[in-house]
C-alpha cells in the first residue's frame, strides 16, 4: 500500500498530557513485550505487585516473542508442517487467537508473519529503522490459520507447511488480563496495567468511582471515566516505517496481505477484557469507518473511530457526554 507519496510527512504520534497519580496509588514501569509496561498499584502493595507483573511479562515474552530466536514461538515457526507439543501458555494463546480469527470471520489473522517480514517488519519495532531498503513484495493473502491443527489433550500443534505465527497485539492484551488476574490472586484488588496502550483495570482507586484514562484523537485527546474492563487502541500513528519510497504499517488486510487501506486514523474500544478490546480495535480499523462501526455495533462493543481527516464517530455505549477534551 502506498500510504503517502515520496517526501510526504509521516503521521505524527499523538501526544498525551502528563499523567497524574490517583491518591494512594503508585506507578511502576518497565520494558517488556516490545513496549513500555506501566502499572498503577496501591502504595503498600507496589513492590510485591510489580514483581508479579514483571515476572509474568518476562515469561510471556520469552515464550511468545517472534523476535527472540530461542522463544518457543520461534521454535514452533521453524517446524511448520510438523506436529509439535507446546507449552500450556503457547497452546492457550494460540487457541485464543484461533477463536478470535473464527469469531471475526478471519479479519483477525495470526498467520500473517511472513507478510510482515517481507514488508520490512522483521525485528522489534524499537530496532526497526524508519527507512528500510526497497524490496520486491510477493502479494500473498492470509487465511492460513484455517489449516492449523491442534490437539487439546496432548497440546499438539501442527502448522501448515510454510505458515508461521505472529500473534500481534492479542498476546499483549492477554498478558494484561493475566497480570490483573495474578495481582488479584496475590491480594491486590485495585490495579491498572497498561502495555503500550492496551490497558485493563480491576477495582477502583481509593475514594474514586473511575479511572481517568486518555484516548487519542487525530490532533489531541480526551479523558474518559473507565469503571471496569479494558481499553485498546489500534492505529497507524506509531507502528509505521518506510520501505523504499512507500510508507508501511503493521495492520494488514488479510484479503491481500498488504497494509490495510483504511479511512481511519485510529480506533479505540472498551470491552470486558483486554484480549477482546485488542482484537476488536484492530479489526474495526482494518474494516474502515463504516464497516468497522457496524462490526462493533454487532458485538455491542463501545468504540471511538477517528478518521484520517480528524472527524470521529462513536459506537454505543461509548460515553460521548462524559468525554473531557484535553488541551
Amino acid at each position: 500500500m502506498d500510504l503517502a507519496a515520496p517526501g510526504s510527512h509521516q503521521p505524527p504520534a499523538p501526544v498525551f498530557p502528563e499523567y497524574t497519580l490517583p491518591a494512594g496509588m503508585s506507578r511502576g514501569e518497565f520494558r517488556g513485550m516490545g513496549t513500555t509496561i506501566s502499572v498503577l498499584l496501591p502504595e503498600d502493595q507496589m513492590e510485591a505487585g510489580m514483581q508479579v507483573v514483571r515476572n509474568l511479562f518476562y515469561e510471556w515474552e520469552q515464550s511468545l516473542s517472534r523476535f527472540l530466536p530461542e522463544s518457543e514461538l520461534t521454535q514452533l515457526n521453524q517446524r511448520t508442517g510438523e506436529s509439535v507439543i507446546v507449552s500450556e501458555l503457547l497452546y492457550h494463546v494460540l487457541t485464543t487467537a484461533l477463536t478470535a480469527a473464527q469469531a471475526t470471520g478471519g479479519w483477525y489473522d495470526p498467520t500473517l508473519h511472513d507478510q510482515l517480514v517481507q514488508l520490512g517488519y522483521d525485528r522489534t519495532f524499537d530496532d526497526l529503522p524508519a527507512d528500510q531498503p526497497n524490496s520486491h513484495y510477493t502479494w500473498s493473502p492470509g487465511g492460513e490459520w484455517r489449516g492449523i491443527k491442534v490437539n487439546r489433550s496432548l497440546r499438539l500443534v501442527t502448522l501448515p507447511q510454510g505458515v508461521k505465527l505472529d500473534f500481534g497485539g492479542i498476546a499483549k492484551g492477554m498478558a494484561v488480563d493475566a497480570a490483573l488476574k495474578g495481582l488479584h490472586q496475590n491480594g491486590v484488588s485495585s490495579a491498572l496495567v497498561n502495555a503500550g496502550g492496551d490497558l485493563a483495570v480491576s477495582g477502583l482507586p481509593p475514594n474514586a468511582d473511575h479511572w481517568p484514562v486518555a484516548v487519542p484523537g487525530r490532533d489531541g485527546c480526551w479523558t474518559i471515566p473507565l469503571h471496569h474492563g479494558a481499553i485498546a487502541t489500534s492505529g497507524i500513528a506509531r507502528r509505521h516505517w518506510r520501505q523504499g519510497n512507500i510508507l508501511r504499517h503493521h495492520l494488514l488486510d488479510p484479503r491481500t496481505g498488504m497494509p490495510a487501506e483504511s479511512d481511519l486514523w485510529s480506533v479505540t474500544v472498551v470491552a470486558t477484557c483486554c484480549e477482546q478490546a485488542e482484537v476488536a480495535a484492530k479489526v474495526a480499523f482494518i474494516l474502515g469507518s463504516r464497516q468497522g462501526a457496524e462490526f462493533l455495533r454487532k458485538h455491542q462493543i463501545a468504540g471511538l473511530l477517528v478518521r484520517e481527516d480528524g472527524t470521529w464517530e462513536t459506537v454505543e455505549p461509548w460515553p460521548v457526554q462524559l468525554m473531557r477534551e484535553e488541551l
Binding site: 498525551f16 497519580l21 506436529s83 478470535a100 497485539g169 486518555a214 482484537v279 458485538h299 462493543i301
Partner: protein, 144 residues
C-alpha cells in the same frame, strides 16, 4: 454365589439330582429299602444309578434363558475387546505422530478448531463511570 451344602454339612446324605427335580415336577425320593429282603434289589438299583444315563432334554425356557445370557456376555466381551483394540491403535498413532513430528506432517492428530462462540461476549454492563473525569488522566490508551 450359591453355596454347596455338602462342603459345609457333610452329614447330609447324597441324593441323586434326577430323583429330586426333573422336567419341573417333583419326583419323590425312593422309599428306604428293607435291610434283609431287599439287598439284591438295592444292589441292582445302585448299579443302575451308576450306569450312564441318556442326556435329558433341557427345558425350552431354560435354554432360551441361557442363550440370552451367553449372547449378552458375548456382545459385552466383543465391545470390551473392540474398545481395547481401538484405544491401542489410537494411542499408537498419536505416539507415532509425536515421534515423527520432526520429519513431516501427520494426518493422525485430530483436526479441531475452537468454536467461534463467545469471544466477544461482554459482561458486567456499562464499563464507564457515571461522571466526567474531574482530574487529568492516570493512564492512556496510546495507539499500539
Amino acid at each position: 454365589m450359591e453355596r454347596n451344602p455338602y462342603e459345609y454339612d457333610r452329614a447330609v446324605s447324597w441324593i441323586p439330582q434326577q430323583n429330586r427335580l426333573s422336567e419341573d415336577r417333583y419326583i419323590p425320593a425312593r422309599p428306604t429299602p428293607q435291610p434283609a429282603a431287599l439287598q439284591y434289589q438295592e444292589w441292582q438299583q445302585r448299579v443302575q444309578d451308576q450306569k450312564p444315563r441318556p442326556l435329558e432334554r433341557m427345558p425350552k425356557a431354560r435354554a432360551l434363558e441361557l442363550a440370552q445370557t451367553y449372547k449378552k456376555r458375548i456382545v459385552f466381551a466383543s465391545l470390551v475387546v473392540f474398545s481395547l483394540l481401538s484405544g491401542l491403535v489410537a494411542y499408537h498413532q498419536v505416539g507415532s505422530t509425536a515421534n515423527l513430528g520432526q520429519s513431516g506432517p501427520s494426518q493422525s492428530a485430530p483436526a479441531t478448531q475452537p468454536s467461534n462462540g463467545g469471544f466477544f461476549d461482554q459482561q458486567g454492563g456499562n464499563n464507564f463511570g457515571s461522571s466526567s473525569p474531574w482530574q487529568p488522566p492516570a493512564s492512556g490508551s496510546g495507539v499500539s
